[in-house]
Amino acid sequence: MRQVSEQEVLRVDGARKSFRTPESGVVTPLDGITLSIRNNEFLTLLGPSGCGKTTLLKTIAGFEELDEGEIFLEGRAMSAVPAHRRPFNTVFQNYALFPHMTVAGNVGYGLQVAGVKRAEETARVTDVLRLVGLSGLERRKPAQLSGGQQQRVALARALINRPRVLLLDESLSALDRKLRQSMQIELKNLQNTVGITFIFVTHDQEEALTMSDRIAVMDKGRILQLGTPAEIYDTPKNRFVAGFIGTSNIFSGTLAKDGGTSRVDIEGGPAIAVTADGFASGDKVDVMLRPEHFALASGRTGAGGSLDAVIENIVFVGTDLHLHGRLANGLPVVALERHARGAGALSLAPGQTVTLHYQATAPHLMKSQAA
């Protein structure tokens, strides 16, 4: 089984980059980014559109120069190394396939310019096209392919070089669900067998959570949090990260410590029982409760609490029911119940008042960003 070693392969150190825009403003897509990428790891960059993900990949690949900072590959500074000498390959967000070459020509390009023998090139092109499921399309031109097929050509073209680091910019976004899942598996297989390190950009949370060894959540040119998918999901650092991954209920309030117990008093509403290590009484905080932390039945074992909510909407998503409701003070809340059939079925209807129970360990406290 693969081991992501602790050994660092790529290091982005204090990267800063600004652009002058035609509106005579300045955007700073990289605002002091420091990031250490471990050998053979699958690192995902996640963030809203325009936060600088593509710019970060471009500076790593060598198409943009940094204003400040440096990129190191195994300790070697990269700023003086031109793009074509960097052992990275990119799958571009817009594919950038060569329109005048066939699929085979595009995919084989990296081998041709490296002077690989014709026979070997053909064999490897055939292999990698089979891998991405495009066998038989060797002689098509890019424009004769669907969007998803073009994307897979771009992927194949980058993979064939067996780069040290593969940069993927939303490279599965145009594929249907089934194809996307099979490509995800192939990428993970490649990570395991060939030992490629991946830096992956996606807007798909589920993809980020399932594929990644670590996720970096970015906003406005900064990395807000870097951690394993579980860390990001369970213990987001702030409201932004919590809101960006998964569905969450986030309440702002003031922490009150009262002997052994702590609670957060939500403005104009109920109090939420919490465990509050590392916070002091009186701190302004945000409390996060994931929908699945609520239970309608109070089958709790330890300490905990409950919130009363009026159901406004019930959304059936197959395995689960999403209950959209409101607390007494008007704040929206989402809870999740497992869907059951027959005798176990819940008899819920909009307008009904329910009690949502949670365990004391469930609420996650975050420093309030307003403070």
Binding site: F63, A96, K141
Partner: protein, 307 residues
Amino acid sequence: MAERSTISSQRRKALFVLLTPITLLLGAFFLIPLGIMVVYSFLEPGLYGGVVWSFYPYNYGRIFGWPLGGGEEFEPLYIQIILNSLYYAALTVIVTLVVCYPVAFWVSRMGPLAKNIVLFAITLPFFANLLVRIYAWLLLLRPTGAVNTALLSLGIIDQPLNMIFTEFAVIVGLVYVLTPFMFLPIYASVERLDWSLVQASQDLGATPFQTFRRVILPLTAPGIAGGCVIVFIPALGNFIVPSFLGGSKVQMTGNVIERQFLQARNWPFGSTLAMIVMASVLLLVLAYTLWMRRAANNERLAGAGHV
């Protein structure tokens, strides 16, 4: 089968209506004179200008050596002049290409203001009369002209260079007149070049030279070809530049044709020479069209590219 008005048949009708006026116009102003020229080239020249209406293929014989008759003699001079003209035209194409190709890249990378200024400057000569502009070169290149005066006073030369009325002066003139025609199509294709393809090439490990040869050159080739054709054709037929800057030493087919029509008043022989120039141009355009059809295929494919 029932008659159906399909979209494509409607479109064809609309196209027909729209194209009829231009077709008639072209027919009247292009095909008829061409037809006259073809016919004239096979007629006998009249004694005092004009033509005698009898079949007379010997105009061609005078140039190619066959068929001869009617008192015409084979004059190898004309083949020499045609070859010379082809050579000058080709040289003009090469010089303008070598100048314009890198400049097009340079200009395409400029800021919007600088770019507009340069493009304006390149089209500026069109606003002045060609004769005036050629005459200016006469002043520049003659022994007492600006270039010689400058070089002499700088001490680089101690004898005025003999530039005017030479092959060199003709090439300079042709290059000067035709540079915009080379620049604009090349610039258009460079401007359309998708730089992310260049990045993709670098990303895959291609050296700058490999990127140029395998990506940049093929994608800008249509512009190069277009520029070459529209420089070659007027260069081949030009008679103003050689008659002003070439003097009596440099003869191009354009001059000879002009003289046949206006001085010798031998219209049939002038037509014959013109036919030969046109045939060589036609061959070139044919090759270009065939080649473009292939390129357009690629282009169409490229256009439908990204989603």
